[in-house]
């Protein structure tokens, strides 16, 4: 019962802070609101039996990436030029963005809501017919971390190694690009 309430709370928080991320004039407040979104998301992960993911979310995302963003925003003092012209695109741009977003939302909703009300033709409906609660079983067997770590290191070993390579490339790239060139 308490879980349902928490779920709704986190969901609303995530959506509202998401909106504020986009609408805030000052980039710093946008970053902070994004952090709030990440926290509410990790809450949702917990409710969805993804405890390790929730933890990693908080540590990696909120902790590392958002700090990096904040660091960059603060360092380059990007917020001050708001006065020049509105950050939002022209009327045509806004209109286009709005229609696109609404259509996207409608399509996804159509797919998702296809579950019950419309007789379940939705994409999601069939997949539900699968195993009752695979995550629950894995949790008992290996605990929150083990449940995820297991498949990570046997089925997904190659992608795992590739990801590490990706990270290496990103680091080298970031250094090369951001290096201050002597004039």
């Amino acid at each position: 019962m308490i879980a349902d309430a928490l779920f709704y709370l986190f969901s609303v928080a995530a959506v509202v802070s998401g909106l504020f991320v986009v609408t805030r004039k000052n980039p710093v407040s946008s970053v902070l609101f994004l952090v709030v979104t990440f926290f509410s998301l990790s809450g949702l992960f917990v409710l969805l039996d993804a405890h390790f993911i929730a933890a990693v979310q908080v540590i990696v995302y909120a902790g590392a990436i958002m700090v990096l963003f904040l660091f960059v925003v603060m360092l380059l003092n990007l917020g001050h030029f708001e006065g020049e012209q509105t950050d939002f695109r022209g009327a045509l741009g806004r209109f286009a963005a709005a229609t696109v977003s609404v259509t996207l939302l409608a399509l996804v909703a159509r797919a998702v809501l296809g579950l019950e009300e419309l007789g379940g033709q939705g994409v999601v409906a069939e997949s539900l017919a699968g195993a009752p609660d695979p995550v629950g079983a894995a949790l008992e067997a290996r605990g929150p971390v083990g449940a995820v770590a297991g498949p990570l290191f046997d089925e997904y070993l190659i992608p795992f190694e590739l990801t590490s390579l990706l990270l290496l490339v990103a680091i080298v790239g970031a250094i090369v690009l951001a290096r201050r060139r002597e004039p």
Binding site: G93, A96, A97, T103, L107, V108, R110, A111
Partner: protein, 706 residues
């Protein structure tokens, strides 16, 4: 003179063989002529050296033509070769005429020089036709030409282009002979357009003057409108008869065609269109007055005596066809009478002496068309012959006047128009020979008793009346009076009264006036004699004079088929003029009218004082309309030439540039436009790319979900 025929006969012999060789396959050749004894009486006629008649003028033209390039302006050769070439031709024609006279042969003798076109069913040879009609025409053409060539030697003496002039004149005589001697329609057509070409070259002889060149151009184009009619008539004839030769057509016309049928009427109307073009009748006469821009001998030869009579000859030649189409005959007669009256009215108020004579020619040609229109072919040819004499004389006389007035103006350095009669006056004392000879011609053209005009014009008026055309008969009488009037006006303005040359060009000018040299006056005298004697070859028996109908009997065989058709279909002379009275009575009436006309004309001229062009007040009212030629030129300009030019420009600018090229270039621009649209997408702004990217996603998602 002898040297040329000897040389000629050798060449002719050669030509004969060439003709045989070339036409061997077709089996034509002189034999064709011999076998063809169509005429009812008199045996077949074997022409003497037929090719030579054409060859000599052609050689003359070639020699003079070369002269124009080689010895350019020296006068000796052209002034001898020119007249001699035509004289030679006249000699050969005379020889043939004498042979035809003594053998009494009448039958059309066709000589084929070589096969011109033989394609499928069409067989057209270069045929020369010798019969009574073409003989008369040849005599008139070569005779008058010889006289005029001699005159031109004097007239063009100090003109640098004399070689070129005689080249064109000889070429003209060549083409006129081709026209007259042609044995089938295409060969006649070659002559027809050939004379058109020479008239174009000769009108625009002094090409340095823009108006003269334009006058030449106008003559050629208007003639071409007539030639269009001739062409289509030929196609119709070929469609009807399967051949274009005169002899078979004339023979089979009566039975093969329906009397008054559509096709024969169409052919004859088209031929009429051709004749109005060439003989300057309404509506295609506007080129003749402008053609006065050419040297005066040209006006005399081409625009008075020979070329303009081609139309009358063609109608006479295809008389059978016209006889089969009464509607067309009526049209010819009406056009003739109408033109006679219309042109006479304009001539009354013209100040340029040559313009008066030009309109007089148009008027007299109207008479000839009236004659052949009513079916009196012999009368038409008779008037044609006499008219050739006195009109040529009038033009040559006018030329002499202009020559001396120009000389006077030149002395004073005055740049007035020597043709303008208002600066002439009292020239009889200075130029007696020219004066008297022109008086002879004036009396002849007016139709005063002993002179040629009296007989020929009177006969036309009589036939018009007796063949049942009362209105045209009346019109011709009125026109006769007007003719006498304007001719008298011309004579009294030019030769009588006090001289105005000093007034026009300054003191001492009149002293420079002089009588024309012998080489010009001799031809005048010859023509004057002919103007008097010419009429006596055809004296109606109604008159209290010895009855002579030589020309009528001479032409009868050639005209007989047409008359036969006319009789067959109930057309006969009523032997009484519309208002009653015999031929003699009306001859008297027309004589009185002629003399009255002259007196009236003289009185009219003397009545008011004639002012020199510079001070002359502008005419008003009817006089102005007549002087401006009833504004017909302006009408044609606004109705035909203007719109045609506008249409041409529209076709070029709009249809070609805008529509067709527009479409073609449009394709090119369409390609570029598509390219531009594509480039708008590559705007370089990330926002656009993301937007398009998202649209792509939506499309895929939509495809999946919907």
């Amino acid at each position: 003179m002898e040297m040329i025929p000897a040389l000629g006969s050798a060449l002719a012999g050669l030509l004969q063989e060439a003709a045989h060789g070339a036409a061997g396959a077709a089996g034509q050749g002189a034999a064709h002529g011999a076998g063809q004894a169509a005429g009812d009486h008199g045996g077949s006629f074997t022409p003497i050296l037929p090719g030579l008649i054409l060859l000599i003028p052609l050689i003359g033209a070639a020699v003079n033509g070369l002269g124009a390039f080689l010895w350019r302006d020296r006068r000796l050769v052209p002034s001898w070769v020119g007249p001699l070439a035509v004289g030679g031709a006249f000699a050969v024609v005379l020889a043939n005429f004498l042979r035809m006279l003594e053998t009494g042969a009448a039958g059309p003798a066709v000589v084929t020089l070589w096969s011109w076109l033989s394609v499928g069913g069409l067989e057209v040879g270069v045929d020369l036709l010798f019969d009574r009609l073409s003989m008369v025409m040849m005599l008139v053409v070569t005779g008058v030409s010889t006289v005029i060539h001699v005159y031109s030697a004097g007239y063009m003496r100090d003109d640098p282009g004399i070689s070129r002039f005689f080249a064109y004149l000889n070429l003209f005589v060549f083409f006129m002979l081709v026209l007259v001697m042609g044995g089938n329609f295409p060969v006649t057509f070659v002559g027809w357009e050939g004379v058109g070409l020479c008239s174009y070259l000769l009108i625009g002889f002094w090409y340095e003057n823009a108006e003269y060149s334009s006058a030449g151009k106008k003559a050629f184009i208007v003639n071409r409108i007539g030639d269009f009619g001739f062409l289509v008539a030929m196609f119709l004839l070929f469609a009807m008869f399967g051949t274009l030769d005169y002899v078979p057509i004339i023979e089979s016309a009566a039975d093969e065609l329906a009397y008054g049928g559509i096709t024969v009427t169409a052919v004859t109307l088209l031929l009429l269109l051709a004749c109005t073009g060439k003989s300057a009748q309404i509506p295609l006469y506007t080129w003749l007055p402008d053609a006065m821009a050419g040297p005066t001998p040209v006006s005399a030869l081409i625009h008075a005596a020979t070329m303009v009579t081609a139309g009358v000859y063609l109608v006479a030649r295809s008389g059978v066809l016209f006889a089969m189409a009464p509607m067309s005959q009526a049209a010819v007669a009406t056009v003739g009478a109408g033109t006679a009256l219309f042109a006479a009215t304009i001539a009354l108020k013209q100040y340029d002496i040559k313009k008066v004579l030009a309109y007089s020619t148009i008027s007299q040609l109207g008479y000839m068309f009236l004659a052949v229109g009513v079916g009196a072919y012999t009368a038409g040819i008779f008037h044609l012959t006499t008219h050739a004499f006195f009109k040529a004389l009038l033009f040559l006389g006018a030329g002499a006047v202009i020559h001396s007035v120009e000389h006077a103006f030149h002395e004073q350095g005055h740049h007035g128009d020597p043709n303008d009669m208002r600066s002439h006056g009292g020239l009889m004392s200075v130029m007696p020979v020219t004066g008297t000879t022109m008086w002879a011609a004036t009396l002849a053209i007016a139709g005063v008793f002993p002179f040629a005009g009296f007989f020929s014009k009177d006969e036309i008026i009589w036939y018009a009346g007796s063949y049942g055309y009362p209105i045209l008969w009346g019109v011709s009488l009125v026109a006769a009076v007007l003719t006498a009037a304007y001719m008298a006006r011309l004579m009294f303005m030019t030769f009588h009264g006090e001289n105005r040359t000093d007034e026009a060009a300054g003191q001492g000018a009149s002293s420079a006036l002089h009588e024309a040299p012998a080489v010009m006056t001799v031809p005048l005298v010859i023509l004057a004699v002919l103007s008097v004697v010419g009429g006596w070859i055809q004296i109606p028996e109604a008159l209290p004079l010895p009855h002579v109908s030589w020309l009528h009997d001479w032409l009868h065989p050639a005209v007989e088929p047409a008359l036969a058709v006319a009789e067959e279909h109930g057309v006969e002379a009523a032997h009484a003029a519309p208002l009653g009275g015999g031929e003699a009575v009306w001859a008297g009436v027309s004589l009185v009218l002629a003399v009255g006309g002259i007196v009236a004309g003289a009185a009219w001229v003397r009545s008011k004082e004639i002012l020199v062009p510079e001070r002359a007040a502008d005419d008003r009212g009817l006089a102005r309309v007549l002087n401006r030629k009833w504004y017909v030129d302006e009408l044609y300009e606004r109705v035909f030439v203007g719109p045609l030019l506008a249409l041409s420009r529209a076709c070029w600018r709009v249809v070609d540039d805008r529509i067709i090229d527009g479409a073609v270039n449009g394709l090119g621009y369409a390609g570029r436009a598509l390219g531009w649209v594509g480039s708008r997408l590559q705007s370089g702004r990330i926002g656009t790319y993301v937007l398009v990217f998202t649209l792509g996603v939506l499309a895929v998602l939509g495809g999946l979900v919907l």
